[in-house]
């Protein structure tokens, strides 16, 4: 279901993940306009909550795997950082998104980026090969997050790092909201409780799990968001549930290390 909805977004050039279509959303998410200017037009569909921290740590020559690469924005930014000796592999399960990413890649002439159609729960990447796993507001959409973190752990080299941004819950969401599929696509009702999210990462074997950034959704964004509006209408409580939602959801950036043994 997630796959289908994101396919629609890619085709229509609409935006997703609860963000509005305003181009400034990607800037709010922490990307600087200069960085955004360096990627092919169309690579940024405003679907993510922003993972500039991960990008900032990348070094020349590193191998990066992007879980849920979408139209490729983070991959292109990462490709610039790791340079010709490095490489970036984007994995996404939505064919329409990959079509877009490939098109963007062709236009921009990046040689060190490749895209694969695949599932982050069944990653087509060999063991111990990546220096860094990045992901931007994707893992919350997975019905099996433990498996995703296990896969991240598996593909990382010993000593490798995972730096991901995602939406987490600070309070449990009302049932009515969880059931709303649209909200799922909007990055919200698939989200896990923050404490549980962290536990899943540790379960996979990661160490030094740290929340390096945490931001609450700005209420204005939630109130203007189509998903929240639809939800509020469904719950017949107008702005109240949107307010409740804003208090319950946070965007976090988490780093973790695969021990060297």
């Amino acid at each position: 279901m997630v796959r289908k909805a994101y396919g629609e977004i890619a085709k229509a050039e609409k935006c997703g993940c609860g963000c509005s279509c305003d181009p400034s959303v990607s800037e709010n998410a922490g990307y600087n306009p200069e960085e955004l200017g360096s990627v092919p037009e169309g690579a940024d569909l405003n679907l993510g909550c922003g993972n500039p921290v991960a990008l900032a740590t990348l070094k020349e020559g590193e191998t990066v795997v992007d879980f849920g690469s979408g139209a490729g924005l983070d991959c292109f930014l990462a490709a610039k950082k790791v340079g010709e000796k490095g490489r970036v592999i984007g994995v996404d399960m939505t064919p329409e998104m990959l079509d877009k990413a490939r098109e963007n890649c062709r236009r921009s002439g990046y040689k060190n980026v490749e895209f694969r159609l695949g599932e982050i729960e069944n990653l087509p990447v060999a063991d111990n090969t990546a220096d860094v796993v990045i992901s931007n507001c994707v893992i919350n959409l997975s019905p099996n997050k433990q498996r995703v973190f296990n896969e991240a752990f598996r593909v990382l080299k010993p000593g490798g790092r995972m730096i991901i941004s995602d939406m987490v819950l600070l309070n449990e969401l009302p049932e009515a909201l969880k059931e709303n599929v649209q909200a799922y696509i909007g990055c919200v009702s698939g989200a896990e409780m923050k404490t549980e999210y962290r536990r899943l990462i540790e379960n996979a074997g990661f160490q030094r799990v740290e929340v390096i950034k945490e931001a609450h959704l700005p209420l204005e964004l939630v109130l203007s968001d189509a998903t929240a509006k639809a939800m509020a209408k469904k719950l017949k409580t107008s702005d109240y549930s949107a307010r409740q939602l804003a208090n319950s959801v946070a965007s976090v950036t988490i780093s973790a290390i695969k021990p060297k043994k």
């Binding site: 399960m93 069944n122 087509p124 060999a126």
Partner: protein, 85 residues
Amino acid sequence: MEILACPIDKYHPLELHVFEEKDEITEGLIVCPKCLRWYPIRDEIPEMLPDELRKEAEDLPFLKKWREKIPEKIVFEGKPFSLKR
């Protein structure tokens, strides 16, 4: 190719068969020699999906189209779909 693994059994390295090439491989096949799963490369994109996301109606015609260039074992015994002998 050197870091590509079978999404199901994580086997690596995988076999690559190239059918059409421009700057990149535009059409080809990736095969896991361990479990005999095959994955198409279409439009330059390696499609490495698990079985439940594969579409027989799209994948079998691909196998038919290139059957002359695909090892017989994969054509008839490949997973998740194969042709009848």
